[in-house]
Symmetry: C2
Subunit: 296 residues, 2 copies
Amino acid sequence: MFKKEVENWFKGLQNEICAALEEEDGKGKFKSDIWERAEGGGGDSRVIEEGNIIEKGGVNFSAVHGPTPQKILEALKLKKADFFATGVSIVLHPRSPMVPIIHMNVRYFEMSTGVSWFGGGIDLTPHYIVEDDARYFHQQLKAVCDKHHSGYYPKFKQWADDYFFIKHRNETRGIGGIFFDRLSENEDFTLRQRFEFVKDVGRKFAPIYRHYMQKNQSLPFAKEHLDWQRLRRGRYVEFNLVWDKGTKFGLDTNGRTESILMSMPPEANWVYNYQPKEGSPEKQTLDLLKKGIDWV
Amino acid sequence: MFKKEVENWFKGLQNEICAALEEEDGKGKFKSDIWERAEGGGGDSRVIEEGNIIEKGGVNFSAVHGPTPQKILEALKLKKADFFATGVSIVLHPRSPMVPIIHMNVRYFEMSTGVSWFGGGIDLTPHYIVEDDARYFHQQLKAVCDKHHSGYYPKFKQWADDYFFIKHRNETRGIGGIFFDRLSENEDFTLRQRFEFVKDVGRKFAPIYRHYMQKNQSLPFAKEHLDWQRLRRGRYVEFNLVWDKGTKFGLDTNGRTESILMSMPPEANWVYNYQPKEGSPEKQTLDLLKKGIDWV
């Protein structure tokens, strides 16, 4: 059964990613928290805290099913249907302000009415934006996309710019990446081709993040950089709690709160109306938190 | 003009409260940040940081007007109207985990169609709930309410329980207080009587909070209490960004972000699935974060 195949592949991906991150971190170990959903299915939340490089993060797998929550039915203009959803969700908050925050989600959704699709994305939130690092990230994602369709990267890159946007700050969350949803079978793609694309995205996560862990973890930093990191984490919280559709949907529909909010940083700060100095690295970063930058 | 009278009274209240808090704090001074709203009106955000007792807080006044934002028109089932809104909003985050977080809002709203009303509330969020302190708070609020109508306190207390509720945690934000909205002229009250009630609520804020500042600021605390305070502040962030209608409305309608988010704590932490030990003061507090407790 296709959905079981996808579920198993995602479960394997979670294992692979956890192993790769533990290896690179050298100290932090994922703890597994297996949970069941009353209405059907469940998940395995893997949480890492107090690593060498990763301060707090989660690599969550879930496969849930049952009667479709009212909110999804409304969005899909359906009266009544069962659903199945499986996916892997990751957010990692590094200790060093020189290592970026990363997020990935890959998911598969299937309705008893017959429709089904893949969705997901990866985006990077450097506390300090370094152009070479940003270019590398987008080059990696573009390569994954180009392998499947030349139209994927431009479309999904713009989608990420629009999605990971903190409207009330008029700032992007970070340097974006790719975001896609409702990738279903159509005249150009089979569902299996969509799945192969999602697999390639998923496989790319660990090598990409290991690149930054290796390259940036030993860069020196001072208290002022940590202060800025805390403020940027505050923005991350604002995005996730105010704008992120997945978070809102999960909290609205009685999802598992601790798994949804594993994306929260270990520590976030707020200072009233903080304005970085002209010419400072903080100001340079702020000036790059906008949509439509062609990093490649 | 009634609305000008209300606006001026609120402006005076802001001054009084800032002066009282500075006197009690002994070190922190409010900085005034005066802003204008492109569509009409503006405000004065007064922010205090790094006080003796108050670590971060704001006492905001605003008086705005213009064409009614689409979202309000929809809620009021109106096609087109101008609006006027004025109010004072306060959130104070104390340095000591033994001093509670406090919030107050008093507001007046008037539509060009003729309808007008008062709204507001005060609620207290102790990091550690002490029953005597909770009783004192509710007694003070009950006294203010009872002076105006015997039905006010029971109704507004329950309204606060329902409003200041973190649904995805199944916890109240704190010990509640009073919350009220749409207090307009009717067969029982004139608009001026409603105003007198709101004035009494506003006047009560400074004495109530000074009581806790005096009584609790010198209580001893250790790192474990600060850790818990940081977690509770995380819950405060969750409530304000996910559930607070005023915050959501402000961020949705292009309100002044820094004034809206002055409610954010200076530092908030998240730990995955933190469970306080049975019998600990943290667990006792958690057990009291529920609706329907009769504190009086």
